[in-house]
Amino acid sequence: MEEIEVVGQVVGGKVASILVREKSGKKLELGDLLVTEEDGVLHILQVYDLKYGSQVPQSVRELLAGLKLEGYGAGLTFLEPKLRNYVIAEVKAIARVEGKNITIPKTLPSFFSSIRRIRKEDLAFLTKPKHPIYLGKVRSGSKILDVDVYVDGLEVLKHHIVIPATTGRGKSNLVKVMLWSILGQKNFGILVLDPHDEYYGRHGKGLKDHPKAKDNLLYYSSTPPAGANTLVINLRSIAPWHFQGIVAFTDAQQDAIRLYYNNFGEDWIENIIRGTEVQGVAPRTLAVLQRKFDTILGVYLDDSGNLQCRNRVFSDTAGMTTTRDIVNALEDGKTVIIDTSRLLDEAELLIGSIIVSEIFYRYQRYKSTGELDSKPVIGVVIEEAPRVLGQEVLASGDNIYSTVAREGRKFKVGLIAITQLTSIIPRTILANMNTKIILGNELATERHAIINSAAQDLSQDDRTIASLDKGEAIVSSNFTKFAVPIKIPLFKDYIETNSTEEEEKTVFVG
């Protein structure tokens, strides 16, 4: 019979706070996954706090320390120190495993039951879903188990994913790993609005190096490398509602925009820039709109009266099919990266708004015509999500991103929202984001916002989240039985081992 390497023993506590005495020298860590095993039933436990325990009264311990520090007896020690002084781990039971049946634990493990570290075989119930998104490997404390963690993309994407973390914790590395694993799966169309131009891999490794990139990845940039598309959007593709929640207009300006749109249809922006007079629009309002469009879109009239586009991303002649090409590609299950690194915030969000609106309303139509089931799930990666999902922004009304957050799942459109500031996203929006991949965060207010909106009870994980190192994360999802601690591989390491078809491995099911 295999001998169990015991690392501790249950010595007390209650459901959410089981006390485990650490066996000396076993060095339990925050986040460690432990197991008790009785009659074929496993309880998976997780350490969320550590503290000292001692049989020696505090005053005696302080006296002994003083004697040593002040030179009265360097050789002084406790009698049987390993027995008298120890570490108590506070753990919580996160899963009960009985064969293939995984449930939330409703009983305590037996008093005094022995605890061992988790092993790969304990997680054999984790299988690779049919439409996998790879996240990393199961992590126990800082130790990595050879168990891959996937979530079922079809489910989690349409129910939105939020990735909260502060700078430098590996958000974009995680997203790159996820997108790499998705690329080529025809069940997903992914739109990436990339304000840092970091996903394609223009100057290093990136999604362009994926073996299926040629047929499944489109890259749009205002300065495209060979083979990539020029990001150029025709002014006629822009409708007034694309600005909603992206650019603030006064009531008078909105009325003017409506009048121009009613009068000139898709040529409304051109006519505003050209200063075509419309009854009911004050010259001053028109002048302000011209200035706004100059700032946001870079469109103006030159000295000869010709329409010019300063940043070349918006054009009155080129880019007639750009939006449609992108939406068609998404509908064909491809990944589309839009490099917006050279654009102002508003222009970036506007482009996203144009594309997301097009795909969202197209999918709404598919639902009404009964075609939606055969269409891929669309995911929209949006960086610095509070720019469009923040309380302050939404106070003036919804935009397409918040509409997707609230209603997208009905139409198979979801967000992958990346943020440093979860706390300023309204709870109503966060509640709709059913998967949270939580990376390290040193800001207590942010941790609380994350914990309060998590799919599982993470009320005791505040310290654990604070202590997450770069690349370490916790996956909390309605589609997981428990919050899974993971280690995300470095993208460059991951792609080296995943440039060919992946082998079947023991994996986590979402």
Partner: protein, 418 residues
């Protein structure tokens, strides 16, 4: 100041109708006559000079006569293959006329160490340097662009022209949204002029890093849709470009050979007999004399079948009123009595392509290249190869062999049958 003409998409031999055939040749003749009058130094034809790789010899004969007249005036013609006159088995009329010295096919190069290295052709009189990439049958030879050694082309000094027959994604018109295209980033930068073909719409553009990017559009019409666009006001013609060290002037020369009339009729919520009556009534009032008439009937009939509408009678009335040619587009016409029609399109090619894409999922195959869009594309190419008609004076044996060879090449099975 030196100048050249840029012509594209002549599609000679596209039409079976004698009137249209005459008009397409007339447009070609008129354009080359204008080139002679304007004393251009050379002419670029950026693909699809002919509508097929082996066009009707009568058409070829007339075209050759005109091109010889141009050549005899000392005006060289530089050409590339288009998607129509490309021949995978190297028997294109373009090659024959190139060999005969009538014009100069400028696509020259070789693949070295995985890179396509193109050679410039220098016009002896103006020293302009031309280089180009031909198209292939249906769609784009994207592979050529992928492996193109752009750096060496960009380093070349002098006045440079890049000739190509591909749709550029950035400039695709709205009605060609689904057309296969390449991004402009595949083209070498720094050329003075990019002479495009394939898009049947006039386009003059520029983007940072690139000189003038010009598509003249068809000289007359390769498809009924071109006629429809002409009838809607799209001007047809070609460009004359003046240059010194840089492009100085780009001028569009309109070639107008006839008048058009476009008539759009919406049959939605009307039954077939009402549509018949209304159409006859309406066309009686039209002035169609000596005009190409484009009649588009669209919408869903509330009753009756589409075949109940006697379009022959409508055609006859229009002919009697003196119309030059009548094209009736009823691809957008459906009836509630028929529910099986799932796709709509503006021409046969588009409808076929959509139908194949819609249907490919119902065919169970194990090979990846036969699935999805790739499979539909292959089926479309095969269909085109198999439905070619026998040429005049072509023996049955030669015809069968030609069709078979092309079908085998489409299927990439040449080595198997060798």
């Amino acid at each position: 100041m030196p100048k050249f003409a840029h012509i594209s998409d002549c599609h000679l031999g596209a039409h079976r109708d004698p009137i249209l055939q005459k008009l397409e040749l007339e447009a070609f003749d008129k354009a080359l006559t204008k080139c002679i009058e304007e004393e251009v130094d050379f002419i670029i034809i950026s693909g699809d000079l002919f509508h097929s790789n082996i066009p009707d010899m009568g058409v070829v004969n007339l075209a050759v006569k005109k091109m010889r007249e141009v050549r005899d005036k000392g005006i060289p013609i530089y050409v590339i293959y288009g998607s129509h006159d490309y021949s995978p088995n190297k028997t294109s009329i373009v090659d024959i006329l190139d060999s005969a010295g009538l014009f100069n096919k400028i696509v020259k190069g070789k693949v070295e160490n995985g890179k396509l290295k193109l050679e410039f052709t220098q016009d002896p009189k103006t020293n302009a340097k031309l280089v180009g990439i031909s198209a292939r049958k249906i769609g784009i030879e994207e592979k050529y662009f992928e492996i193109l050694d752009r750096t060496s082309l960009e380093k070349e000094e002098g006045f440079k022209i890049f000739v190509f027959h591909s749709a550029l994604t950035e400039f695709k018109p709205d009605f060609l949204a689904r057309m296969a295209s390449i991004p402009i980033s595949y083209l070498p930068k720094g050329f003075d002029y990019y002479a495009g073909g394939h898009i049947h719409k006039r386009i003059e553009e520029s983007l940072p890093g690139y000189g003038r990017i010009v598509y003249p559009g068809p000289l007359f019409a390769g498809y009924p849709r071109d006629l429809e666009q002409s009838a809607r006001g799209e001007k047809r013609g070609f460009y004359i470009v003046s240059f010194n060290e840089k492009v100085e002037k780009v001028e569009f020369i309109e070639i107008k050979i006839c008048d058009y009339l476009f008539f759009d009729y919406d049959a939605s919520n009307k039954n077939s007999s009402l549509v018949q009556r209304e159409l006859i009534q309406k066309i009686k009032d039209l002035d169609v004399k000596d005009k190409i008439v484009l009649l588009r009937v669209k919408g869903e009939l509330s009753g009756g079948k589409t075949s109940d509408i006697n379009f022959s009678q409508i055609r006859k009335i229009l002919m009697e009123k003196g119309a030059l040619h009548i094209n009736i587009n009823r691809f957008g016409l459906t009836s509630r009595e028929y529910t099986s029609l799932k796709v709509m399109g503006e021409d046969i090619h588009e409808i076929e392509s959509k139908l194949l894409k819609e249907s490919i999922g119902t065919v169970k195959v194990s090979i990846d290249s036969l699935k999805g869009e790739k499979g539909a594309h292959l089926a479309f190419e095969l269909l085109n190869a198999l439905r070619q008609e026998q040429k005049p004076n072509e023996s049955k044996k030669d015809y069968e062999e030609r069709v078979l060879t092309q079908a085998i090449e489409v299927l990439k099975l040449t080595e198997v049958f060798e």
